[in-house]
């Protein structure tokens, strides 16, 4: 079977066995997505490329990915978001709260990776689904996801009670899941 048609899991196994071409194929599949997420969080093309490079170099050495517990795309997205937000957080503050926050985002990722991925979702579908959300739900969800802000910080910034912010974010996520499920 040509390497380009292999599954992500097979490619990852090939990569672990020293096949660098497998990394190239994984980059072809997810490199742009990793870059876009890095760019959205870091707001710098150079920084986004640097982080994309770090992510794929790290992928070639990681033992953290377990295909039985989650898919490659989600693994890469989680890793990219975590590292990108880590970088901006370090820039924002060197305080001890950083480590506390890092732990809080790292834990669910490792303990609860995704298995049943919706592999057929396209960018257009996700965009349309997001556009269909109430503006305030979408805004809070994106602030939490891309900017790594806690719900308390968002509540403070927007001048809205914490309970309302939590409700908007949760409803936004639940609605998004329902819409995408219907369309897939």
């Amino acid at each position: 079977m040509p390497i380009s048609t292999q599954t992500d899991t097979e490619l990852f196994q090939a990569l672990r066995s020293g096949n660098r071409e497998a990394l190239g194929i994984l980059y072809d599949r997810y490199g742009v997505l990793v870059y876009r997420l890095a760019l959205r969080v870091l707001s710098s093309k150079q920084d986004a490329e640097d982080l994309t490079q770090d992510i794929f170099i790290n992928l070639s050495r990681t033992t953290a990915f377990d295909a039985k517990r989650g898919n490659m795309k989600t693994f890469l997205m989680v890793m990219t978001r975590s590292r990108a937000i880590d970088r901006i957080r370090k820039l924002r503050s060197q305080s001890a709260s950083l480590q506390k926050w890092q732990q809080s985002i790292a834990q669910p990722v490792l303990e609860h990776p995704m298995e049943n991925a919706s592999k057929h979702e396209t960018s257009e579908q996700v965009r349309a689904a997001l556009q269909g959300l109430p503006e305030k739900h979408r805004q809070v969800l994106e602030m939490a996801y891309y900017e790594g802000r806690s719900q308390s910080e968002i509540a403070q910034e927007l001048g809205i009670p914490l309970g309302t912010i939590k409700s908007w974010a949760r409803q936004g996520l639940i609605s998004l899941k329902k819409v995408l499920k219907e369309r897939s």
Binding site: L37, I57, T80, P108, M114, V126, Y145, K177
Partner: protein, 267 residues
């Protein structure tokens, strides 16, 4: 837990799981979710789907693309990282002998003193020059902050030093690149480096296996001084020598220009 609706399909539970995925639950609520998942394993799928949906958000981002060279650069650097890791296991190249660490400290103390001197001059200059505009002051303050950060890096333990020496037209230039392994940062300091000709700039490269790999580009200030803090990727940590070339702004990130300075690991 007891106050919740007992139906695992209820909106209340869905809401709680969404909060779990978003990381906005209290410690008690997190424990409640864990218990819920044990009692109703079918809810694990619900949780995984919500996590998956969250990770789909980047698919809606604008269609930006990385540079076409990034792929080949990553594959090349993966090779370098792995060969460096092997080299690291095979030898003790990176370990500084105990006696020499004292020399590093001495050097760093000297360097720190020089930088502190620069700081004093800068601060005095700021105080005396009442004609500076607010904007110039802001720039100077940013520079001060940069120097202070650089000093903090220089003071870190287990730093590696590459001494730099000028050649040709900039033979009097000298400096160093200190690599702070712990901070993944390098500090480049150079003195007596003349301004490059128009549309030219200086470029720092790591010399790994005889090949030059781009690290950073820079310009000296009017006094011929360079003080630059550079994020150093892991792949450059093992570089035993670096070179500085004079490059044209028209060229790509390939070393095509004349070599003007060279540095070797000295400590």
């Amino acid at each position: 837990m007891n106050t919740r609706n007992s139906d695992p399909n209820s909106n209340e539970w869905e809401n709680l799981i969404a909060g779990y995925v978003l990381g906005d639950l209290t410690t008690e609520e997190v424990a409640e979710v864990h218990q819920l998942l044990v009692l109703h394993p079918e809810l694990v799928t619900e949780l995984e789907q919500l996590q998956e949906v969250l990770s789909l958000l980047p698919q809606a981002l604008p269609e930006d693309f990385p540079s076409p060279q990034l792929r080949s650069q990553i594959l090349k650097n993966v090779e370098l990282v792995n060969s460096n890791l092997i080299a690291e296991v095979d030898s003790s190249t990176y370990k500084i002998p105990q006696g020499m660490k004292t020399d590093v400290k001495k050097y760093l103390n000297t360097t720190t003193s020089i930088i502190a001197g620069i700081l004093v001059v800068l601060v005095m200059g700021l105080g005396l020059d009442s004609y500076r505009t607010r904007q110039e002051l802001a720039i100077a303050q940013r520079e001060l902050s940069g120097y202070q950060e650089a000093i903090a890096v220089l003071k870190q333990p287990n730093n590696r030093l590459l001494a730099l020496k000028g050649m040709g037209e900039v033979a009097t230039a000298s400096g160093s690149l200190v690599i702070a392994t712990a901070a993944s940062t390098g500090v480049l300091t150079i003195q007596n480096l003349s301004m490059p000709p128009k549309n030219m700039y200086y470029c720092l490269w790591a010399l790994i296996d005889g090949k030059k790999t781009y690290i950073a580009e820079f310009m000296p200030d009017q006094k011929g001084t360079v003080m630059l803090r550079i994020p150093i990727d892991q792949i450059f940590m093992g570089a035993k020598s670096v070179v500085i070339t004079l490059e044209s702004k028209q060229t790509t990130l390939k070393p095509q220009g004349e070599m003007v300075m060279q540095g070797q690991v000295s400590l």
